[in-house]
Symmetry: D2
């Protein structure tokens, strides 16, 4: 997809590094390509729900961030990114060695970017899809 700012990877990594929530849930940015991005996180004790799996909000956090930063990678230099809306369908319990979110831009408009994400749980090299997300991102200019 068309890049509007050559320094997109450093910009995405810098913004991700300033998200305290990503540190709190142990998330790591493992791949940044134009319009596609991958985030990994362990299932920390701090993020469990009542049955011992990662809370749906963790799959949401990973899928939303993967989608948002995939969108940011295609935006112009001064733009930051905001989530307009996001829908998540939960497919299986979020348990295993790590959660893997892959976000991509489906439609890279100037006013709106439509995105899709998948979240997978990995155990012993085997992956099970735990969530799918579909949402909208907008560019925001800092004042």
């Amino acid at each position: 997809m068309k890049i509007r700012f050559e320094g997109y990877e450093a910009k995405v990594r810098d913004s991700f590094g300033r998200q305290d929530l990503m540190k709190t849930i142990g998330a790591e940015l493992v791949r940044v390509e134009p319009g596609e991005l991958e985030i990994w996180a362990p299932v920390l004790d701090e993020v469990r729900q009542q049955h011992g799996f990662a809370h749906a909000a963790v799959s949401f956090a990973l899928g939303d961030s993967a989608a948002g930063y995939a969108a940011l990678s295609l935006m112009e230099e001064p733009d930051e990114v905001l989530t307009v809306e996001m829908k998540i369908n939960l497919l299986a319990p979020a348990q295993g060695e790590r959660l893997i979110a892959i976000g991509r831009v489906v439609r890279p408009g100037r006013r709106l970017m439509v995105t899709a994400s998948e979240v997978w749980a990995e155990t012993g090299g085997k992956r099970v899809q735990v969530a799918m997300l579909q949402g909208t991102m907008i560019p925001a200019r800092p004042e």
Copy 2:
């Protein structure tokens, strides 16, 4: 709405107490009624995004939990609750003294419960709506 288990409040509070994520984000269950429920949380440093506001996943966590426990309050004694899907629209930055999520059951079916939540940010007694959520919950029997 029709209660199927008289001990719903203790059951909801017990389940909420076992959600580690709720502790991590400082969330507190402040009101439990049949089919309607309220959760409060401060905007902790640990949950911020890159602009200093609470991450969208925090509004999601609060709204989803408020909806899920509103649904659980109407379920039968052995049932636990699972989120099938949830959609969030973000309305304003999540900043202020506290976030307040109010979840309610719109359609209390036996197979599926349809829910709606609002998330508000409160500062100096003034509330601004920051998110609205609409989603589906199902009862789950432990094996």
Copy 3:
């Protein structure tokens, strides 16, 4: 809510009148207020699904149009309205004498309007909610 164009009602009625789909499903615009709007339609034979109820797409059409025109009622004179995204939860079979969709704007931003709609089925003066919708509208300027 704040009106940006005094002639909003005539503008909404004119645009609605140019939607051939609304004629095909027999829809009628019965109430236009700033940021809130009501559409009625019978359950025509032409729009049924395999069980004899109105197809989910009819509830969608009514709820989406009610939301979109509620948004248009708050936009500036030259703006038209486009649906960005819409989510529908179906609550009960769409059957009865008429379907009634009530759309309203929850957040009337300049770039984006967040909307909510309810669709009801009416029989003998009694109403049952058949759907709820939550979505995003944007203003579009004709070129």
Copy 4:
């Protein structure tokens, strides 16, 4: 994906044939595979919105039906299918010679099936994606 009823194709075609709305919008079932399905429709005058494109509800009708029948193709013999919820993101105006909806089952559970659909507009052999949908289907037994 695992078939639970060998006669799935005839069952899907029979149910589709009883959807009056599909006739009204000129939709045709062109491909039925286990868990994946394709529907085509022209852009009839009767289904246009105020700008002359197919109404968003048409993309919804096609995407929802493609998803629903993809789900039905994996259900047991007596089951029928109901849409629980569906979310649509609109990507481009629905105009051209025909609309093509491709629905597939992402998670074929017994209680719930999670589905995804794409809707494309075709002109002169060239396809542009106009919508993407993500939703939930349930089996329903006739009484």
